[in-house]
């Protein structure tokens, strides 16, 4: 049983202190072993000379450790980076209302702009949502069209501002033929384009021939797939499809809310923002009806992450198992490497060096290689995570940031402790060799 004062103390600590203590705790066996083994001797310059003697062999060994440690470190850091990146991408999407269906599919479509065919929400429903007293922002999100790699999304100016704040370039759209582009869309302010119907390979390129939209502004980067999107007034999407424009004839030419339910052709999704945090829950149950589904993308995402939690555990276990295998490999490698030094070790013993000194030389040698490999491995891991994150970001448009965190350092500390303890074995084995046989060799 853990004494109460201890758990009180432990959970009273800041998280950083807990992590740091864990790190020290995991590294402690290595440190204690080092102090105990080397105590009162001076093996270091001898070990340096030994390492230098077979520097390339030793360097190769260190490199192998570094790559294996780097892979383990990279694996868990990458998983966390992707999890955080996807969560950050969904941050701006408080509550989404769509036609009933799969929450996951709707979330993928709305937040990550993965194309999907869905029924539309009609004007009356939109009006009910927009005029709810707790709703601060209700923006239609009308997807379905595209231009090259970019989705063309019909929405409102308020949503653009909600998504990315002030524009970095140009101004907000003010007419049906104007567009604001995401930070990474390869169109400049002033460029014109014709949207295609549909998205990706199935897009019908000439369906909207004769339509020309002009870029008038550019959004700040958001770190999600919307950086690749082109945002237009929702009226523009309706117009392109030959639908009513959302306003009574006498208000023809108006851009943005309020919309007239009778002239509202529909939208696949609505982003809802409550004026109070608590109101989100009330709104969700209010908009969960026969004809509509309301969900929190953040909650759906964490459900997904929760499901994937098992996968994550498998990955962590894999990372640990890999490190164990590497440790076994290190043991075998050391056994071979130490034989390179058999004659020198026999010499030391013939001269009368105490066993404990010879032991400390062998162990310090092994621990130095392991330590160097581990430190280098952190660098390798960081580099690997950096490269993979960049690739993932480019492929998915979800900003994945590379960073090493405590779990990686814990893994490395545990690895170092385990392997330097394992290294005691070849150090013992070195002592059981016959001095005269090795001297004669």
């Amino acid at each position: 049983m853990v004494p109460e004062f201890w758990s009180e103390f432990w959970y009273g600590l800041p998280v950083v202190a807990q992590d740091a203590l864990w790190f020290v705790f995991l590294l402690l066996p290595a440190i204690l072993a080092g102090v105990a083994v080397v105590w009162s001797y001076r093996p270091f310059s001898l070990v340096r000379a030994m390492i230098w003697r077979y520097r390339w062999t030793n360097a190769l060994f260190v490199l192998l450790i570094a790559v294996s440690v780097g892979l383990g470190v990279g694996l868990i850091a990458q998983e966390r980076g992707i999890r955080k990146g996807t969560a950050r991408a969904a941050e701006k999407f408080d509550l989404v209302v769509t036609a009933p269906g799969s929450e996951v599919q709707m979330m993928l479509a709305t937040v990550y702009l993965q194309p999907v065919d869905v029924p539309l929400i009609d004007g009356a429903t939109y009006d009910a949502i927009a005029s709810n007293e707790n709703v601060a922002l209700a923006a239609p999100i009308a997807y379905g069209d595209s231009y090259r790699e970019s989705s063309v999304i019909g929405t409102t100016a308020a949503f653009v501002t909600h998504l990315s704040g002030d524009l970095t370039d140009g101004r907000m759209f003010q007419a049906v033929d104007e567009a604001v582009v995401g930070a990474r869309v390869p169109l400049d302010v002033g460029d014109s384009f014709t949207p295609s119907h549909g998205v990706g390979d199935g897009a019908e390129e000439h369906a909207h021939d004769g339509v020309s939209l002009r870029v008038v502004g550019r959004m700040a980067p958001t770190g999600n797939p919307w950086d690749k999107a082109i945002l237009v007034p929702v009226e523009s999407v309706w117009k392109v499809h030959g639908l009513p424009l959302g306003h009574r004839p006498e208000r023809d030419g108006q851009i943005g809310p309020p919309f007239d339910p009778d002239y509202f052709p529909g939208t696949p999704a609505i982003l809802v923002r409550a004026d109070q945090l608590w109101a989100n829950y009330a709104l969700r149950s209010e908009f969960t009806t026969e004809r509509t589904m309301a969900f929190f993308p953040g909650a759906v995402l964490s459900q997904l992450h929760g499901l994937l939690g098992d996968v994550r555990q498998v990955m962590s276990v894999m990372a640990v198992v890999t490190q164990l295998l590497v440790a076994a490999g290190v043991l075998a490698g050391l056994a071979v490497l130490i034989r390179l030094y058999a004659r020198r070790l026999a010499l030391l013993r013939a001269l009368g060096a105490p066993d404990r000194f010879v032991f400390s030389v062998v162990w310090t040698y092994a621990a130095t290689l392991i330590g160097a490999g581990a430190v280098l491995g952190i660098g390798v891991g960081l580099a690997a995570v950096g490269i993979i994150s960049r690739i993932v970001t480019a492929r998915t448009d979800i900003l994945v940031e590379a960073s090493l965190g405590w779990p990686e350092f814990h893994l490395v500390a545990g690895f170092v402790s385990l392997t330097v303890l394992i290294a005691l074995l070849p150090a013992f084995a070195a002592l059981s060799r016959d001095v005269i046989t090795d001297l004669r060799s």
Binding site: L46, G352, P354
Partner: protein, 222 residues
């Protein structure tokens, strides 16, 4: 304390049980200079290893004064060598990446804290007297064979041993270097009353010894 060597009924066997060396009786008074010669494979090195306490004999006794080396465990024998024996090997056996002083004073790395300084000082003095002090901090892998062998001698002397055991110390040296080394070894032992036992084919070395023992077929002829 004087360390006379006394060997009685010594038998050294291989692990398989074949007899390598048999010495019924051998007495060497402290301070003697002894040469050992014999055909290759006769058991000269084995004899040297036995008196150095590097191996555990199958039976019989090897004693230096009151130190009954043949009865000691490995750790005790290591301590005996550390405190009383200076070993010189046929092929130098140096740490190539260390300097001459680093090699000569290697015992300081594992000696008691109190004797480290003395070991380093005496290694430095030994190198100087063997004419190696001008080589400075260079790594010994750049040394000539004669220089290396002298570093090995300086190493053997650094802990001021009462016993010097040398296995073919001049084998890989040219005549001039060999003569210099023989002079050094003989002088070092006669000045300080150390016992010197040197295995060698070299007649010039034999000429400087008090006694030369022939070993044939695993038996010293005495």
């Amino acid at each position: 304390m004087s360390l006379d060597l006394t060997i009685r009924d010594l038998v050294v066997k291989t692990r398989e049980g074949r007899s390598l060396l048999t010495v019924e009786r051998l007495d060497i008074p402290a301070g003697s200079r002894i040469g050992i010669r014999g055909p290759s494979g006769a058991g000269k090195s084995t004899l040297l290893f036995a008196v150095a306490g590097l191996l555990k004999p199958a039976s019989g006794t090897v004693a230096w004064g009151k130190h009954l080396v043949s009865d000691m465990g490995a750790a005790e024998r290591a301590r005996f060598r550390r405190e009383n024996v200076g070993l010189v090997f046929q092929d130098f056996l140096l740490f190539e990446e260390l300097s001459s002083l680093g090699n000569a004073a290697i015992a300081a790395r594992y000696a008691k804290r109190s004797s480290r300084r003395r070991i380093v000082e005496s290694a430095r003095a030994g190198l100087a007297r063997l004419g190696l002090d001008t080589l400075g901090g260079r790594r010994v892998d750049s040394f000539s064979g004669g220089e290396r062998q002298r570093v090995a001698v300086a190493r053997a002397l650094a802990n001021d041993p009462a016993i010097i055991l040398a296995d073919e110390p001049t084998a890989s040296l040219d005549r001039a270097s060999a003569d210099l080394l023989i002079d050094d070894l003989a002088a070092l032992s006669s000045e300080t009353g150390r016992t010197l036992i040197a295995v060698s084919h070299d007649a010039a070395l034999h000429a400087r010894m008090d006694l030369v023992i022939d070993v044939v077929d695993g038996r010293p002829l005495v």
